[in-house]
């Protein structure tokens, strides 16, 4: 298939599809290459899709896209071994148009989204691996695929090949990631009757709830667990930095079983039937791990460029926005007939000036900070659980006495100062 396109997009995930959609809509001749049997067959995410960034691409998509439930409640559980402090927000405004976010099952959603790009005129080729970028005089001019006579050419190649971006790496855009720059997440889809889900999570028809799990969900290792409601299934998972699993020699699927059997979680999933088991890496190095994202004839988007906001569990929305901005830039480049790095770097400027770059910068130190000081997860969460237990247990001790004991239990003045400093430091990296 020795053909020439305006643009080749490698990888049909949220970033690649968004980019291909916008390019095709703008009149460009686009080839979208996916290595899986169909778009979504290699993709995994916890399951929360944000409405705004998707709507920037397809307005009113929620009227026809295969979505699970609009989220009306977000809960956060700070867990100890046999207890949890839970906070959350539930708002009926999220249950109405235009909604805030939805749970989705990726294999279904990505296929639908890719079909939309095809409707715009993009050519989708599945079951094809891009082995390398074809580079001539320092400029990317096409890709070599694993098909017979599989070289294809284009003015611009967009790399949307995900967290394992072998292509961006082979161009020297970033070094191999280290185990503390990626999180390994494992998850399961559990089938459960719709009515039972709604009763257990306190939901009305077609409302959804998400619960993020901290502390004992990851046995104190930096990371989080999650439990999300789909239509007639639950998504449950746990992700920690790969370095944490290595350091503590923990098997990820045993950690997942631990969460499933945790006394705070078990009642939610009781009686459900496992349908699928999935594992995936999440690029969590943040701003500091972002490599080069623009070159002559090439642009990197989505997970391949580390665009994940780990603190706010956001990724697919950053991916979509980066895909859209890359497409805008490429369309301008096409008009100017200039596909040099100098022209394409407008993508980087747009990205970094918008919410994607700003959020990446805001949290640039956060993962590193919490990784360096594990006490937030393994000491402080148990500590507040214990304090809550003491304060709320009515046993004839006066509240003053209880308060005194709680403060005494925290430790010496020096230890108290340390906690105060840690709280301040945490505030600083998050502010």
């Amino acid at each position: 298939m020795s053909e020439k396109f305006d643009c080749i997009v490698v990888g049909a995930g949220p970033a690649g599809i968004s980019c291909a959609f916008e390019l095709a809509k703008g009149g460009a001749n686009v080839l979208l290459i996916e290595r899986g049997e169909y778009p979504g067959s290699k993709n995994v995410m916890g399951g929360v899709l944000y409405r705004k960034m998707m709507e920037d691409i397809i307005p009113d998509f929620y009227k026809e896209a295969p979505l699970e439930r609009p989220i009306v409640e977000q809960r956060f559980m700070m867990m100890d071994k046999e207890s949890a402090i839970t906070v959350g927000y539930k708002g009926m405004e999220w249950g109405k148009e235009p909604y805030n976010n939805f749970t989705v099952l990726r294999a279904k959603f990505d296929q639908w989204f890719a079909d939309k790009a095809v409707e715009q005129g993009a050519i989708l080729v599945n079951e094809t691996v891009v082995l390398e970028c074809i580079v001539e005089n320092g400029k990317v001019i096409g890709v070599r695929t694993d098909r017979p006579n599989g070289d294809v050419y284009a003015d611009v190649v967009v790399l949307a090949d995900g967290v394992n971006s072998l292509l961006a790496q082979s161009l020297g855009f970033h070094k191999e990631y280290k185990p503390d720059e990626v999180a390994l997440a494992t998850m399961e889809i559990l089938k459960l009757d719709k009515k039972i889900i709604e009763d257990r999570f306190n939901l009305e028809n077609n409302q959804g709830c998400t619960i993020e799990l901290f502390g004992d969900a990851t046995k104190g290792i930096l990371g989080t667990g999650f439990l999300y409601t789909n239509k007639d299934s639950l998504s449950i998972g746990v992700g920690t930095l790969l370095s944490g699993l290595i350091k503590h020699k923990i098997k990820p699927y045993e950690l997942l079983e631990y969460v499933k059997n945790h006394p705070m979680i078990r009642p939610y999933i009781q009686g459900s039937e496992p349908q699928e088991y999935l594992a995936h890496l999440i690029p969590e190095g943040g701003y500091k791990s972002m490599g080069k994202i623009v070159g002559d004839g090439v642009i990197v988007i989505g997970d391949a460029s580390q665009l994940v906001n780990a603190i706010h569990r956001e990724g697919s929305n950053l991916a979509m926005t980066s895909g859209r901005l890359a497409a805008e830039t490429i369309l301008l480049a096409k008009e100017a007939d200039d596909f040099s790095e100098n022209m394409l770097k407008m993508y980087r400027t747009k990205l970094m000036e918008g919410f994607v770059g700003q959020d990446m910068k805001k949290y640039k130190d956060s993962t590193h900070h919490f990784n360096k000081f594990p006490q937030y997860f393994d000491q402080y969460i148990p500590m507040i659980n214990k304090a809550a237990s003491q304060m709320f247990t009515v046993d004839g001790t006066s509240k003053w006495e209880k308060q005194k004991k709680i403060i005494k239990d925290i430790g010496s003045t020096r230890e108290k100062m340390k906690i105060a400093r840690d709280v301040y430091k945490a505030w600083k990296v998050m502010k």
Partner: protein, 98 residues
Amino acid sequence: MSEQNKGQSIEEKQYLVRFNADTKSHLHVKDTDICMTKCPDKICTIFCPAEIYKWEDIRMHIGYEGCHECGSCRIGCPHQNIKWEYPKGGHGIVFRLG
């Protein structure tokens, strides 16, 4: 312990997944000697989410057919001793739900 507290084994989990395995492995140990002599922990046998790495007496067995293509072994191997590629187009893991 009740029946459900036993937890599901990794074998049971892997049965839930569809694989369209190639006849050729996409994962290779670069230097088997390194696993044998320089890597007492063989940490890939622990963190791999599909438990595809198994140490058998003197060599690393790779059950690549059950690989989730997550990339952890490439990044997590302390000796960068794993040659990691994508399976041939259309092959490998096929998520139905995700």
